[in-house]
């Protein structure tokens, strides 16, 4: 199983835990990721905020590069994923624009290099049995609230691989590695995303509400599949107790016995080590 991999701008910096654990878990599961050569930024939420055309053109460059590899384009960042999906759709449907892009970027669109999110790939290209078979340290007794956030599963006519209001793919993966996925009501609520820089107080309110929801549901921790979600919940929660916020790949990594994760724990806002030690997942 081989994919083109688009790490995105934060995979070595503010979301280094996600970048590291994505690569480690894929390696442990026999999923080969080949980093997209000379990839550029997808424009995040800023391009579509200010300039529609740029918001499609920037990710179109990555789709064009991925097409040359004949492999699906996998990313772990939901914003990159969503932007690439929109660009791919525009290349497919808007003929005049496609011709313009083909000329500017010197390529021929043929529909290869399909943008996929890592959660979709791990949930649908592998079977849960294959994942179960590789678990060396089941996350027995760990109660996790799987948090999907906004554009990972929305809008459904773009994504379509999980339910937009009550997604379950991440819950199933966490259960496959031995954790208990709790039932809760804030799975797809928004954390406030990029408002964290310009309007931090709004994000504090939204993120705290989500973390409180996880506490009420009896969760020990939250699992996310997004760099911004992780940072917002991790550093802006103001609740009765501190709740560790993991990337779902970090939790899978513990269960699959990947090495190097111990270097990630100190990078979290809420230190997850006391919880991991108490449950016997960390010496």
């Amino acid at each position: 199983m081989k994919y083109s991999y688009y790490p995105g701008c934060t995979a070595k910096t503010t979301s280094v835990e996600f970048g590291f654990s994505t690569e480690a878990v894929c390696e442990a599961l026999g999923v080969e990721l080949v980093e997209l050569e000379d990839w550029s930024c997808c424009g995040a939420s800023s391009a579509h905020s200010l300039n529609h055309e740029l918001s499609l053109a920037l990710p179109a460059r990555n789709v064009a590069l991925a097409q040359d590899t004949h492999l699906d384009l996998v990313t772990s960042c939901p914003a990159c994923y969503q932007n690439s999906l929109k660009a791919d759709r525009a290349l497919r449907e808007d003929e005049a624009w496609r011709r313009k892009m083909e000329e500017t970027l010197d390529f021929r669109y043929n529909g290869e290099g399909e943008p996929r999110h890592l959660l979709d790939v791990l949930s649908h290209d592998l079977s849960l049995d294959e994942i179960r078979a590789r678990v060396v340290k089941p996350l027995k007794g760990l109660k996790v609230a799987a948090y999907y956030g906004c554009v990972l599963v929305r809008p459904p006519e773009f994504t379509g691989w999980d339910d937009a209001e009550h997604p379950m793919t991440m819950d199933r993966l966490l259960e496959a590695v031995g954790a208990e996925a709790v039932d809760w009501s804030y799975k797809v609520d928004c954390c406030g995303a990029s408002l964290t820089l310009s309007r931090g107080e709004i994000v504090t309110k939204l993120s705290s509400r989500i973390v409180n929801g996880a506490i009420e549901a009896g969760a020990d921790c939250i699992a996310t599949a997004c760099g911004i979600c992780q940072i917002n919940l991790d550093t802006r929660q103001k609740c009765e107790r501190e709740v560790p916020i993991f990337y779902f790949t970090e939790l899978m990594g513990i269960a699959l016995g990947v090495s190097g994760l111990e270097k990630m724990w100190g990078k979290h806002g809420v230190d997850p080590r006391p919880l991991l030690r108490e449950r016997g997942f960390l010496a």
Partner: protein
């Protein structure tokens, strides 16, 4: 708010055309507002804004803070019984507002502008210099914006540096000319 029916009725057609969303079919059930995470801080809630567009209240709509507080979370579009997605509509309103000189939220504008200039410079976002440009732009726009949240910004910056989560040296895309060409074609060459 006074609602007048002498509004600019071409406005709604332009918004429909540019966003590709059939905003005329909204029957004001307010499901979008009910699920919107940031409606509580907007001056006009999403459904209200839509109604104002239908009524041609151009100036009030373009000077509203709502498009600047919309985070594009797609909750509204997922739930609307008429399949209207407000995220693309909010994008269009923000872009039209800029074209006509309204900037209802200078801090959000400064952030997006700094982000885009970082990509133009390196091909990828370099967080450290992007954040420095953002704070500078805030200062130039309105000095109070620079000081708003400065304490927590600095704390966050210190934390990221101590945890080794900020790169000092930017990563540069090799074929940067391609990225710059995309900027030029989108009319962003000189911004």
């Amino acid at each position: 708010m006074t609602i007048s029916v002498e509004g600019d009725l071409t406005f709604r057609d332009v918004v429909r055309e540019r966003s590709g969303e059939d905003i005329h079919s909204c029957f004001y059930c307010q499901k979008c507002t009910a699920g919107c995470p940031t409606a509580f801080v907007m001056d006009y809630a999403p459904a209200q804004l839509l109604r104002m567009i239908q009524l041609g209240q151009r100036e009030a709509v373009l000077s509203s803070t709502a498009p600047w507080l919309c985070v594009g979370c797609e909750t509204c579009g997922t739930r609307c019984p008429n399949h209207i997605r407000l995220a693309p509509m909010m994008d269009v309103l923000r872009q039209m507002a800029l074209e006509e000189g309204y900037v209802a939220d200078p801090a959000a504008y400064a952030l997006h502008r700094s982000f885009l200039s970082s990509i133009k410079r390196w091909g990828r976002v370099h967080e450290l210099t992007m954040l420095m440009e953002y704070k500078t732009r805030c200062l130039l726009a309105e000095s109070s914006l620079f000081f708003r949240g400065l304490g927590s910004d600095l704390m966050m910056g210190k934390d990221l540096v101590l945890k080794g989560k900020l790169a000092f040296i930017p990563e540069r895309v090799k074929r940067l000319d391609e990225v710059r060409k995309l900027y030029a074609e989108a009319g962003e060459g000189n911004k």
